[in-house]
């Protein structure tokens, strides 16, 4: 994990020179975390307008929310295996929230799941009547996915520049002759 984390800050941009290994590492690194632009936007929505968020705070939040996803889905998957099922569903994730101590999440997320199924049921009913429903629902997700990688690439460039600034100064020569 530390290796991935280290590579996240010093990796080349997707278009930069490097071997296939570096390219795969960069791609895998991007998949490991949610886009920092989305994370930053979600953070700003809840904070006052005068609040500022440091870059390190956004990076820490990226790590935390990815760990949160892994933690909860892992618990849900374990529950499925115990019950001899192969597919994880929303109810499993809700139970995972309760089992892991996220009690505040249980009621809101159960309500979310209930409304989701209500609306999906309505959409499924209308879908039987017409053929454009599912295609229309897929469009926003595709658009969001297309917009996702761009800010991450820009951020990667910024990280590389920041890393260069922290490099120790090699120009100071200790062996300068007095005369």
């Amino acid at each position: 994990m530390a290796d991935h984390h280290h590579h996240h800050h010093h990796g080349h941009p997707p278009d930069g020179p490097g071997g296939a290994g570096d390219q795969l590492e960069v791609i895998k690194e991007q998949d490991r975390l949610l886009p920092i632009a989305n994370v930053g936007r979600i953070m700003k929505q809840i904070l006052p307008p005068n609040a500022k968020i440091s870059k390190e705070a956004k990076e820490t939040m990226q790590e935390c929310v990815s760990e949160f996803i892994s933690f909860v889905t892992g618990e849900a998957s374990d529950k499925c295996h115990k019950e001899k099922r192969k597919t994880v569903n929303g109810d499993d994730v809700c139970c995972a929230f309760g089992a892991l101590g996220f009690d505040d999440y249980v009621d809101p997320m159960r309500r979310y799941l209930h409304k989701y199924r209500e609306l999906e049921g309505d959409r499924a009913a209308s879908s039987r009547g017409g053929g454009g429903g599912p295609a229309g629902a897929a469009d926003p997700a595709s658009a969001s996915a297309a917009a996702g990688p761009s800010p991450s690439a820009a951020s990667a460039g910024h990280f590389m520049f920041g890393a260069a600034m922290d490099r120790p100064d090699n120009n100071s020569s200790a062996g300068a002759r007095p005369f």
Partner: protein, 439 residues
Amino acid sequence: MDRPINIRTSPRTPLSLSEQQTIKEFWRKKQEEIEAIEDFGEHTIPVTCLKKVICAKKGKMMMTSDTPTFMTKACKIFVQELSLSAWMCANSHNRSIVLDSDIAESIASIESYGFLNDVLCAHLEKYKSDTHLQSIKNPHHNRAINQSPTYLQPLSHQYQMTQFIPQSTRYCPFIHIPPTLPQTNDIHMHLPLPLPPITYMTKDLVFFEKGISNNDDAIDLVTPPQLLPEALSNIPNKCYMCNIASTDTYCVGSAKTCNFIAEDGDMVFHFPYVPSKPFQLSTSLPMTNGGCSIYTDITELNHIKLKVTHIEKSTYGINPEATFNVIDGQQHAGDETTAANHMHTEHGELDAEFVTTTNANADDNNINWDEVDMASDSMLMEFWRDVMMKEDPTSLPDTISTNDTILDPSDMLELEGCCDDSYLLDDVMSNTSNDVRHG
């Protein structure tokens, strides 16, 4: 990667009443938002990105179509709850910017977020690594400065060099002036001297640096800035030594009255017409003004020789100011006569060196002239008496130690006599035996 380390070393105080109210309000608002949802296709986190995160961390996992959508909502609530708590931490520190330390503090205060300790440990290790890179730079820079004396001297003389540098000694022990001088207004003297021992060569390189930093009329030479020591303030330097590595000549003289010209590997010692110090005599002299300036410089050279003896004492590792501090009390006696002021000027300069030594030990290079005034006039007498105990009394004239009156021509002749070749030869032999003793 699993580690039992818990970052909750300094647990945060329980949430205040207002903070608990803020969190309760947060969850109530989230419940309302969920009730108001009309379109589940709108996501602040792309579903494809979330799926990639799950696959990257947990491998392939089969899930129903509602699960990724469900998780994006949960992630949003997670990020916002943690951000809100971090914002309250930033406010408690009177900041309007949220730092990663605020997030760590929030995680430590929420029990259900204990699973994030590993993430914070990894993040903290990265931060320490960056800090280490920052700290490497500064010691490297300090090491570059610290290596300068080591580079200039052999290791066997390291202790000896330590004794020299804090005392601001700036004079070369080899001084030679011909006994007879032509009486002209402009005097050019060629002063080739024998090559001194290597140890003195290395020391003089350090002295040159100090001389440059203290001298108002510093010679316009290119000196590496890393090797220049920190300049001592409030200390006028009337005398200085100049040495160029390519030459084997040493010259000492007043900064105001001497000009050095390097020609063919030698230094030309040039005396201008009017000396910087006024020198008043009780009787008129049958010599020209040039003769007066010569005698003035001879007087200064005698005082310089006094400090040269000081250098020799330092060579033996004796701490001169300790001797003076023990024997001598801090009392100052002023004298208003011209000759006494002249002597006091030289005496004050010598005291300034001692005060500099004391402050150098305390790593403080700012000297208050009140401290210089606190130095005693008898310190010079104590120093001189200490020198007489070690040196042969016959090689030094008595008029130097007891002279408080105006110098007359006969005294000038005696001063001139102390600069003969035999004295220089004795000094060279003494240093040679000293060098043998160190070997």
